[in-house]
């Protein structure tokens, strides 16, 4: 069975997160253009996500914590429950984000109640965002972006083990900081980590530079047998794996996630704009759309298929 994928698969959804669950559904969440809440939709194929009904399952508070700029939600299924990780600021400090998590014990996360489990506390109270989690050898890990006042730039990437889905435990270490030219255009940024286990390694993509056409995706990896917290084993690829491609009108691709097709084909999910010139702050330009592309592996290197437009894929 095949279906036709039309990119972008979802318009005006940035920081897209797609996860394929054991119930056969692809679940989709992303940042809304007005950053007011957390949208969720599901469909049995990637192509059907385009028209699937969307429900805002959680809305920002009117004041105090979690009252402004709800960014980059991710849906995870951990030990039998659903969790939404997201970053939020306060209406009186709209860029001072912290990370929060919601829990839902329904079988279908579009139903049931989302319970606020609070802020995820890290080594310091500072700008923190873009949390993701993964399990490895029966341990639950958390990777996120955060500002270190001692390091120039906006954010670096950190890792910690989790005691439970809302609490970190043990040492916290930095696994990436903006260092290459392509990570430092406009702003010094490493953010939006996404985890993928392949080839005996754990790969983490991340997004770098300002969120205009300079935004791009870099790649880290570590041997799956190594200590995840030992930053000496995390290797950063010297070149980005996904950047602006004017010939196909995709500008500032980034903040990706990963999923697969029914036949196992690896899919990268990311946002991009289809124009370069932005009026005002890129953050308030609503046209970061969600794109998907298959990729394959050449040794240690993911090789993205060129642009996918109106293309048939195995459902």
């Amino acid at each position: 069975m095949t279906e036709t994928i039309v990119n972008p698969i979802v318009e005006q959804r940035a920081d897209p997160w797609i996860m394929r669950h054991t119930d056969g559904y692809y679940y989709f969440t992303a940042s809304l253009p007005d950053f007011s809440g957390i949208p969720l939709r599901r469909a049995q194929t990637l192509g059907e996500l385009t028209a699937a009904a969307e429900k805002v399952v959680w809305q920002k508070r009117s004041t105090g914590v979690m009252s402004a700029n709800i960014w980059a939600p991710e849906l995870h299924y951990i030990q039998g429950k659903w969790y939404l990780y997201f970053a939020a600021a306060r209406e009186d400090a709209i860029f001072d984000h912290r990370m929060y998590v919601l829990e839902n014990s329904s079988a279908n996360p579009l139903e049931g109640e989302w319970v606020e489990k609070g802020q995820i506390k890290t080594w310091k109270e500072s700008f923190a965002l873009d949390a993701t989690t993964f399990e490895h050898e029966n341990r639950l890990y958390y990777i996120w972006a955060q500002k270190d006042p001692e390091i120039e730039g906006n954010s670096n990437l950190y890792i910690s083990e989790m005691e439970n889905p809302w609490t970190l435990t043990g040492p916290q270490t930095m696994i990436a900081t903006p260092e290459h030219t392509w990570e430092k255009v406009g702003f010094l940024v490493n953010e939006g980590p996404a985890v993928m286990k392949r080839n005996g390694h754990i790969y983490v993509t991340f997004s770098a530079s300002a969120t205009n056409h300079n935004y791009c995706v870099g790649l880290l990896r570590i041997d799956e047998k190594e200590d995840m917290l030992d930053s000496t084993h995390w290797k950063k690829y010297p070149q980005p794996i996904l950047t602006t491609n004017e010939s196909i009108r995709e500008y500032g691709p980034g903040h990706n996630s990963f999923t697969t097709l029914a036949d196992g084909t690896d899919i990268i999910v990311y946002h991009a704009r289809n124009y370069k010139e932005i009026e005002g702050d890129p953050l308030w330009d609503p046209n970061r759309h969600t794109y998907i592309r298959p990729f394959s592996w050449q040794g240690d290197m993911p090789v993205l298929k060129k642009r996918m437009v109106n293309e048939e894929v195995t459902r």
Partner: protein, 314 residues
């Protein structure tokens, strides 16, 4: 794995490795030799060149007397313009009340280059008890030199505990000595009750002392103490002890019983832990006479709450 193996291996068959990067740009190296009969010194401008340079024998044990056997764990220090070698030695291999019978000794050399010149015996470091004592290390803090070492307290069960005292001169401590840690946690008491091999690291406003614990087989591992640099280092209450080992056997990489470390920085200024480990667990007879504790080194980093993070030996 072979690549990793080669990268971290510094010298074969050298245990209790000590590396000191001096202001002259040389990495100085000494360690226990498998024969335990002498003190070797070598120097190179990088850690990896240490295996390519000729070792100089700085000192050979006499045939008889208190320094005539089991020369262990030498360390080279540069204190107020002179070089000092700290080491432990016994009068024989005889085991007395379940322990070897080491004491700590000091040699002095006034040359610029410690591979040259003459080493003068400054004698035994006298401590609170005439008992098994070893693994002396020295560090300076706020113009005071301190000695940290391992010793048997006749009233405490086990092989050795760690002690600190300030130094009146490089071979004389200011009494009383203060105990910093004793073997009490499960990972410190496997095979033998051991705390030994202290190594000092000063960073980020803190003073860390790593040490080695348990028997010198695959159970050997490292613990850590820490204090703030503003604390009174002679007050045992200021030292916080890690409840878990900070460095231990890594089966997946075939690195067993890592320990007896020292600290340095590599040519790029990155923090490096230097340690010994075996590549197998099947030791015939006493682990002490198995020569294959190899000197290894690897880069380490820091956690966000400013603790060193050594990872696993690889």
């Amino acid at each position: 794995m072979n690549q990793t193996e080669n990268r971290n291996l510094i010298l074969e068959q050298r245990a209790d490795p000590w590396v000191y990067l001096h202001s002259d740009g040389y990495y100085y190296f000494t360690a226990s030799v498998p024969e335990y009969d002498r003190i070797e010194l070598r120097r190179a401008t990088s850690l990896h060149e240490l295996k390519d340079v000729e070792a100089v024998t700085a000192w050979v044990k006499p045939d008889t007397g208190p320094m005539s056997d089991l020369i262990w764990a030498p360390e080279l220090h540069h204190i107020r313009g002179k070089w000092y070698l700290y080491f432990a030695a016994a009068k024989s291999r005889e085991i007395v009340n379940g322990l070897f019978d080491h004491r700590m000794f000091v040699l002095e050399n006034g040359s610029d280059n410690p591979l040259e010149g003459e080493w003068i015996e400054r004698g035994q470091i006298e401590t609170q008890w005439d008992s098994f004592a070893l693994d002396a290390t020295v560090f300076e803090h706020q113009d005071v030199h301190y000695l940290v070492w391992a010793q048997k307290d006749p009233s405490i069960e086990g092989n050795s505990n760690l002690y600190i005292a300030s130094l009146k001169n490089p071979w004389t401590i200011q009494k009383p000595q203060v105990m910093l840690t004793k073997p009490e946690l499960d990972w410190e008491t496997k095979g033998f009750l051991v705390n030994e091999g202290p190594a000092v690291l000063k960073r980020h406003g803190q003073i860390f002392i790593t040490y080695s614990a348990s028997a010198t087989d695959e159970n050997y591992c490292m613990g850590m103490l820490s204090a703030s640099e503003d604390d009174d280092l002679l007050n045992p209450d200021v030292w916080e002890k890690s409840l878990r080992p900070v460095f231990a056997t890594n089966d997946a990489a075939g690195q067993y019983g890592p320990g007896h470390n020292s600290f340095t920085i590599d040519e790029q200024g990155r923090d490096v832990i230097v340690y010994h480990a075996r590549t197998y667990t099947d030791i015939e007879g006493d682990p002490l006479y198995d020569p294959n504790r190899h000197t290894r080194a690897q880069i380490f980093t820091w956690t966000m709450d400013k603790q060193p993070y050594f990872g696993k030996p690889t």
